[in-house]
Symmetry: C2
Subunit: 272 residues, 2 copies
Amino acid sequence: MESALELYEEKHTILKIGGSVITDKNGELAAKTEAIDRLAEEIQKANTQRLVIVHGGGSFGHPVAQKYGIKEGLRDDAQKIGFAETHHVMTVLNGLVMDSLVWHSIPAVSVTPSSCIITENGRIKTFDDAALKRLLSMDFVPVLYGDAVLDEKLGFTVLSGDQLAAYLALKLNATRVVIGVDTDGLYDADPKTVENAKLYSRLTLSELEKVKSNLAGSNAVDVTGGMLGKINELIPVIARGIPVTIVNAAKPNRTYEALIGDSVEGTLIEKE
Amino acid sequence: MESALELYEEKHTILKIGGSVITDKNGELAAKTEAIDRLAEEIQKANTQRLVIVHGGGSFGHPVAQKYGIKEGLRDDAQKIGFAETHHVMTVLNGLVMDSLVWHSIPAVSVTPSSCIITENGRIKTFDDAALKRLLSMDFVPVLYGDAVLDEKLGFTVLSGDQLAAYLALKLNATRVVIGVDTDGLYDADPKTVENAKLYSRLTLSELEKVKSNLAGSNAVDVTGGMLGKINELIPVIARGIPVTIVNAAKPNRTYEALIGDSVEGTLIEKE
């Protein structure tokens, strides 16, 4: 067993897979199993060392969390079954992802956020990462996800996969972060409504700050903030000097190419 | 939020449900969904406060763990996918249990052992119980299970639901422990082969120690030790003065009666 210090000198990659990629956000509990299997295949082919995967909730976590107002915290006891349900449906989605990863011979082990993370006003306060660190040191691929978690101030809340991915990037001092979404990257306008929307292939942190307000992307209902929410989580990561690549994980091979470090259609965001 | 001290003054009940009750141990990945639903109904009806549920692995965890020698620890890299698979199938069984509990309006939240427990030579060494304690203080019903876990000496191993139930009983200073198995309790001989085997309705700790070697019960393949393994885990619990009731959870209402504290067919074991 290597020491914690050695571990943090390793080159970690964080791969975030958006809920909109692996579920149909317009449905309810609607998994895109073909997309999950294709991504498992790309991850297996890329064979990235020291990989941590984080996935979102899509049409599993979000509708239930929204129905019961889980993100806003505990206000009455009737919400408790909603908290239980939100966590449960997220474990079901995670189970589908794990099934595909393990079936592709990836030594993937789920780490349940609500079992080891407690937030304070929605931000990660304590994270017992002993199992996570040990899994990484043994060359397992830990898989985490957006989850309903307990909160010191709110009672409970929703922890987004985006916050988790950014937190892990900083905590593990990752070499890079790959964010898989269902658009080709960051545009200067919403490509779904503006015909000549231009894709940014590369942005510096200061450029990103300037264009932030125009950002378009995931527009479906998302209790955890959509593309702007993602960017706000990622800014401290980029400021640390960790490059972030946003790719379309709904299109074949983009995630694979990003993982092996090839140039890939998407948006690369670097500190300078 | 009450303090940790107040929490431990609460009256906790630990309910362990054997893998042989909720799965067909002769099959592979064979859940007994009717038994799971019936138990969820009994648990809902009993409405036990400060309840912690622990379930075993049955035909989910055991065959995979055995195939890869997970309990014995990491000896070669080919076992890693076996560790991933063992944990995954246990989350699948847990998902079926959670589904039924939540569907019965029980505010049950799974706590994943491998995410917050690390063992040393197969015994629980560290357990980050922050989420578990907070769940209990908020009147959720935490649900844990036998799992493939990381081990400081062995790399990884199998943590039995029996060890976990006994550990939690001691840690939470439980008022009582209910052990649901697929026989009526403890017999002086194997009731499946000896015609006049006699059921013990009550045993003291010293009587238990004397009859331990004749114990019969769960005979199917169980990587975690069957009935004798259960008893060895429970002895420190009984020695602490926490009464243990062993009931046939495969028979309707036994678990319900044990939970509400009624006299029930089974074996009650007390310190004196």
